[in-house]
Amino acid sequence: MFKYTVKRLAQSFITVFIVVTLVFLLMRMLPTDYYFTEEQLMKFTEQQKNDQLLAAGLLDPVPEQLLRFYGQLLRLDFGESRRIQNGVPVVKVIGTKFEISMKMGLTSLGIAVVIGIVMGIIQAQYKNRIPDHLGTAYTIFVNAVPPLVSYSLVLIFGSRVLGLPSIYSSRNPGPSSILPIVCLAMLSIAWWALWTRRYMIDEINKDYIKLARIKGLPTKKIMRKHVLRNAFVPLAQYLPASILTTVGGSLLVERFFSVPGMGPLLTDSIHRYDLNVVQTLVIMYSVLSILGVFLGDVLMIVVDPRITLTNKGGTR
């Protein structure tokens, strides 16, 4: 396990390094006009533009800029935002948004995992009967309807019928978070239900379950101790990544309900050429994704001790 961890960490470091370098180089390949706002382009003379680029170090040779960037990273200096919040350290810009997205994402994920798994169990238990059909109909509905349409339905129902706030408010975070959380959870519930049902039905059809039934074990015990536990193994792999990526927020939901979270930040910062914010976010998302996969592997071992990550053979 230790050997595996060290190997994975080394691989992860190289991956992050490559991603960061690529993003840095790609951003520098854009025409320098992208450094300026539309208004600056309108009002600056060519000389002024050149002077500003020079002062920002953007006219230095790219290798020199890259080395400077690595140096800053080693000092954990992620720089300041130029456009999203002018002059404010990137860490601070991200910090406030991170907290909101994480709270909302974890809440919705908690709801989705619990409801989705329960739904999947019920569907598997009542396969091809009314509860299963209802669950399948829900899954198809949330996947088929475009998100903005379903969000609008939630918004209209939630605000007009239930009287809930239509958009997020930092002064009233509890009630105003309900509609975005519902929207975030909707699709996720369907995902967990779909895959729980599928893996459980797979297990139910296996010989060892048939044997257990013949031996007279109660259905409930079979479902809980054998079917659910084994069905959960492949699902467990995705759980850490799902938890970690909640900090990324949801672009659509956060925009729709004006949640000041992480969701739109990466696209906004690319759109506005806020280099430091883009670079920091890419590093953060790379690290989180790699960590998510690693923890997923570890969790699989915990859930199913038969699985090993280093020895060949003997896996499921």
């Binding site: 909302m104 007009r160 979270g261």
Partner: protein, 667 residues
């Protein structure tokens, strides 16, 4: 048993949800607690409609209009200024008719036709912190500090330097001087007594409450510049308190100093801002709200939802919302549609005379066609935009009709005649009739179309001429509008004459389209920075590096050779430029100056160097009397939330029309 398990699961889920969401209450920003107890609260007067006025206003803005900086001197975006204008006051402001009125300067004037301008300041304007606690007096030195900040290369990223460089003595030299210094040396400079800044730049502080600006040449409109960012104040004591230049660059609502009508007591980026009445605000007579909340929303459709659920007091309606409400007499808002006030922008078709194809080679077909006077005149007399106007205003589309380059209401002559009326007279255009575009003339259109096709065919141009029009790839609204325009061109100019190609850019029109010169036409609005036609007409002059449109959109500045195809166009531009320069030179007689500009503008329109497009006047649902808002066609004051009349029940169409009639009568 199964039921109880499910109950436990649900209970657990709800608990998790409540625990996590309840934690969300703490924010980094100050909550507006106690704002209703702010001393100095003035009662907002009852409205003429008899309904109760609003004390805590809630409005919205779309998310793309989010604030990027708290420094008015740094800001060049309307999205920033429309917030900051409520937080910091300049020398002058405007009234509901766009006329200059005193603000921090109680009196001002020039005795030499605009060469030197003296502003006498009030002595009771306080800088306060976020909680309204006094920090210092606003003095003339703050205006010197503000200008030094802008002209210092190392402090303001060269933002807002163009007007001072163009107008104020020594400003350019000081900018160049600071550029030559190291960042540390530059940042250490101030505007104090004996400073290099005062030595070099044409600004004088004879006492704490007098500031004198010395212009390069006579600038009879210089006082209107006092409503623009470049002449805003900044307190040196605030700079010191924040730890110098870097502290000011990163300042936020919690540590900045305010002398405006409100302080921003809460700021959640991408979500909400709360302005709270400044208890020490200098204008004790004005009506302010106790708080103003600005909610950031994804779109105006979401804003409409919020208005319906009573969470907003004002919403601009989209075309579909206006139609839905207007066409259904039983709609709850059918009688509440309020015509909105025009924005300060005058929209035009800007032709590109040096167009490139996407492979970077010149688009000779288009370039030859658009250089032809008859070709452009055919557009002028033939293109009917009524259907296009319905995109902005489906009920009364013709209020959007624009036949001028300069925005209506920018300036008036001494007889009270509005400037574009002078242009109309020069052009010999009839008055607008609210039914059809008055510049259209079918006979002239046919004549010019035939002439253009004959002349251009001889020059090798093939018809229909392809017209590349670029819109944002992510905007359905822009696509719908472009399709309406395409149909309008097809219906009125003819498919045998021109063909509109709708193309898209990803994120930046300027960077992806304008810089590589890919567009045939660009539909763009100009809003004046200061109150003089020169700010409009100067953007189109030929051979002038500071002429924005000539150097960026029309690219006429890059056309230097007189050829068979271009000689008429260049001659028209030269004559137009001569007329503008002639008007620029008139500085003592404003009436004569405006007449001269009107002549130049009429010449430009007659030669169709640009083609007027529209004004943006839509419909809204409003609990605010839109005629009570500041309404200048220049500067950054129009969003200042001061002396706004409100009505808790919302204004009906009838009430709004009555108020508008009163407003017009008061002009």
């Amino acid at each position: 048993m199964r039921k109880s398990t499910l109950s436990r699961v649900l209970a657990l889920t709800l608990s998790v949800m409540l625990v996590l969401t309840a934690c969300g209450g703490n924010t980094a920003n100050n909550e507006p607690s106690g704002t209703n107890e702010t001393p100095g609260t003035t009662e907002t007067p009852a409205t003429e409609t008899g309904s109760e006025p609003i004390k805590d206003l809630v409005i919205s803005k779309v998310l793309t209009r989010e604030l990027e900086t708290f420094n008015t001197l740094y800001s060049q975006r309307a999205e920033d200024s429309e917030n900051l204008t409520n937080l910091v006051d300049p020398l002058l402001e405007v009234d509901t008719y766009g006329k200059l009125v005193p603000a921090i300067a109680k009196e001002w004037g020039t005795e030499d036709g605009g060469l030197n301008w003296t502003f006498k300041l009030r002595d009771d304007v306080k800088w306060v912190d976020i909680n309204g606690n006094e920090k210092a007096n606003t003095t003339a030195w703050d205006f010197a500090t503000g200008l030094e900040w802008i002209m210092n290369f190392h402090k303001n990223d060269s933002n807002n330097t163009s007007m001072p460089i163009e107008m104020i003595k020594g400003a350019e030299e000081y900018y160049e001087y600071t550029k030559a210094l190291s960042p540390e040396e530059g940042k250490a400079l101030t505007a104090g007594e004996g400073s290099k800044f005062l030595e070099m730049v044409g600004i004088e502080i004879p006492d704490d409450y007098t500031v004198i600006y010395h212009c390069i040449t006579e600038k009879p409109y210089f006082d209107t510049v006092a409503t623009y960012n470049c002449l805003y104040p900044m307190a040196q004591a605030m700079v010191d308190e924040l730890g110098g230049v870097d502290g000011v660059t990163a300042m936020n609502n919690e540590n900045m100093w305010y002398n405006g009508a409100y302080t921003m007591t809460s700021y959640i980026q991408g979500n909400e801002k709360i302005f709270t009445k400044n208890p020490l605000y200098w204008d004790k007579e004005c009506d302010l709200f106790d708080t103003v909340t600005i909610k950031m929303v994804d779109s105006n459709d979401v804003a409409f939802q919020l208005y319906q659920s009573g969470e907003l007091d004002y919403v601009i309606l989209t075309e579909s919302n206006v139609k839905t409400i207007n066409e259904n007499p039983n709609h709850e808002f059918h009688d509440y549609l309020v015509p909105d006030v025009p924005s300060k922008y005058s929209y035009q078709f800007h032709f590109n005379f040096q167009k490139n194809k996407e492979d970077g080679t010149p688009d000779t077909n288009w370039n030859t066609a658009i250089a032809n006077t008859a070709f452009r005149k055919a557009w002028y007399y033939g293109l009917d935009l009524k259907e296009y106007y319905k995109r902005t205003n489906p009920i009364t589309p013709m209020v959007c009709e624009n036949n001028f380059y300069t925005m209506k209401g920018l300036v008036y002559n001494s007889k009270g005649t509005e400037y574009t009326e002078l242009v109309r007279q020069q052009l010999g255009l009839p008055e607008q009739n609210g039914e059809n575009m008055v510049r259209l003339d079918k006979a002239k259109f046919e004549e010019y179309k035939k002439q253009a096709m004959d002349e251009l065919t001889a020059l090798g141009v093939t018809f229909p001429v392809e017209v590349d029009h670029y819109i944002s790839a992510s905007s359905q609204t822009a696509l719908d509008s472009a399709n309406v325009l395409k149909q309008a061109m097809s219906n009125t100019l003819g498919d045998d004459f021109v063909k509109l190609n709708i193309k898209t850019y990803v994120s930046s029109l300027n960077k992806e389209v304008i810089t590589p010169k890919l567009q045939s036409i660009a539909l763009n609005g100009w809003g004046a920075d200061y109150g003089d036609p020169q700010n409009y007409l100067g953007q189109e002059t030929y051979g002038n590096d500071n002429a924005y449109y000539s150097g960026h959109y029309s690219n006429i500045n890059f056309m230097t050779e007189d050829t068979e195809a271009t000689k008429d166009l260049l001659a028209a531009y030269r004559e137009y430029t001569r007329l503008v320069e002639e008007a620029d030179a008139i500085t003592t007689d404003l009436d004569a100056r405006y007449d001269a500009y009107a002549k130049a503008e009429a010449y430009m329109l007659d030669n169709v160097l640009i083609l007027p497009l529209n004004y943006s006047i839509g419909w809204s649902l409003s609990k605010v009397d839109v005629t009570s808002r500041m309404d200048a066609m220049f500067g950054i004051q129009n969003e200042k939330i001061k002396n706004w009349r409100t009505n808790k029940d919302g204004y009906t169409t009838e009430q709004a029309e009555k108020l508008e009639a009163e407003y017009e009568a008061g002009k």
